[in-house]
Symmetry: C2
Subunit: 311 residues, 2 copies
Amino acid sequence: MAGAAGGGGGGCVTLRGSQFQDLLDAKHNVLFDCDGVIWNGETAVTGAPEVVSLLKQRGKRVFFVTNNCTRPRESYVQKFSRLGFTDVAEEEIFSSAYCSAAYLRDVARVQGKVYVIGCSGVVRELQDAGVHVVEDVGGDEPGTNISNCPLDPDVKAVLVGYDENFTFMKLAKACCYLRNSECLFLATDPDPWHPLRGGRITPGSGSLTAALETASSRKATVIGKPGRFMFECIASQFDLDPARSLMVGDRLETDILFGSNCGLSTMLTLTGVSTMEEAQKYKDSESPEHKGCVPDYVVESIADFLEALEE
Amino acid sequence: MAGAAGGGGGGCVTLRGSQFQDLLDAKHNVLFDCDGVIWNGETAVTGAPEVVSLLKQRGKRVFFVTNNCTRPRESYVQKFSRLGFTDVAEEEIFSSAYCSAAYLRDVARVQGKVYVIGCSGVVRELQDAGVHVVEDVGGDEPGTNISNCPLDPDVKAVLVGYDENFTFMKLAKACCYLRNSECLFLATDPDPWHPLRGGRITPGSGSLTAALETASSRKATVIGKPGRFMFECIASQFDLDPARSLMVGDRLETDILFGSNCGLSTMLTLTGVSTMEEAQKYKDSESPEHKGCVPDYVVESIADFLEALEE
């Protein structure tokens, strides 16, 4: 099966029996997105803990690549453990918060402070990386407004992530910092929204970033998927060969495009946001930029790995 | 002078002496933007009150067309009076808040409530137009979050305007309302930011709208300039002939493009945001969509009207 060895050629192939086996033989590294792939909220996808364990027992390297920036890696380890994943190590978890911190420290080599719009996961990862954070907890003095609020002259970068405490004042301050063209402008991830239980959705980092991009007339450097940086971050630590790596995700425009952008084989799982119909639409599209959103393979759930792994 | 009679052909012409006189003879209606044109903050542009009075004495009809949605018309009348404009009537003032209310009532004929992200100016205009408003003053019960907050089933439209009390929660609620594809999505104006005294800027309605557009995967119907609706709103009440109308503004991408879109002659005044260099750049551009941002005429200040008017 040529597809499994190289990359599926963007075929939306539903894997069966020996094909799954061939794919597993061809790949040494499996990258999983988290939300919608291995868990939904506080519930593990059925069979997911076994899949992760069996892949490792077969000698595969497993990584978790998530645009979710709300938790530090340490808290992810706890969540994995709580949901029945017994053998996931902190080093295997690459969140957009962790990778943003790595980017600021190792690539941008920011000299000065970073003004953060984001939750504690982002702040914690930056602090762990030794990056100096200006965290805005909204405790402005009464009478403070955007005309008179103090701005820190040492701020050399603005980082935007998911922030349930986002306010107009934070947006306005960030906008003022970005008036200095030497101030870097980063976003943890481009996710426009996230599904909540009960059918509601919540705005994502991409939504808050769009507000700041419009107000500042600038474009953010986006760390998370589908950009290549998170793969580069993993590859720099683990010497990954893209041709021997498989990306498994639930969002076509994020996970699958990320895999395509990085030269990985890609697999859509239907336990999250995107549907088979949407994948087929991208496949049928003649627009070249849609090609990257077509997964090589499609599975109902990553539990479909089990049959091949238990043989 | 052919330019003055018809429209200046997008020439960035600096008017002198008799040319100004010709232009005034050719136009019966003068539309002024407010911020950066007739005042800056709480200071009238020198000579502006006299220009308005003299235009009226010459039999011209004068209108004020502003994307600023923070005040109801009544409060604009007070501001005009406070800054020395003695003869401006409420009927001559067309703000994006007033026009949004007119759109909701007369064009969309909204049946139900409107969820408003915006300041008191927007709320007041909607109420004056008899539109039922859900105003979010942020007084959610403790423990309320986006998963469990009450949503009003009668909301049939979301309107976004400038809102210094903008929060993540407001954004998330609006996003939930817009999940219903029959819920209208309106924005008062597209302004990305506004200058503040002291060199700072503040995010505009366009910035908040961009956040909601991204989170909801929808596009807002934008009421303010450069869209045509505000002109249609004036024209429907005053029977304006575009060919005999002049639009005077300080922002190329808003005021001048609005004038071009509506078939008016356009004049850039340099007392606000845009510069002569920016106008020249649009003039030199080969991109067709930049042509509408080239003003027919350029003046240092609307006080330049005085010489022609006092003759």
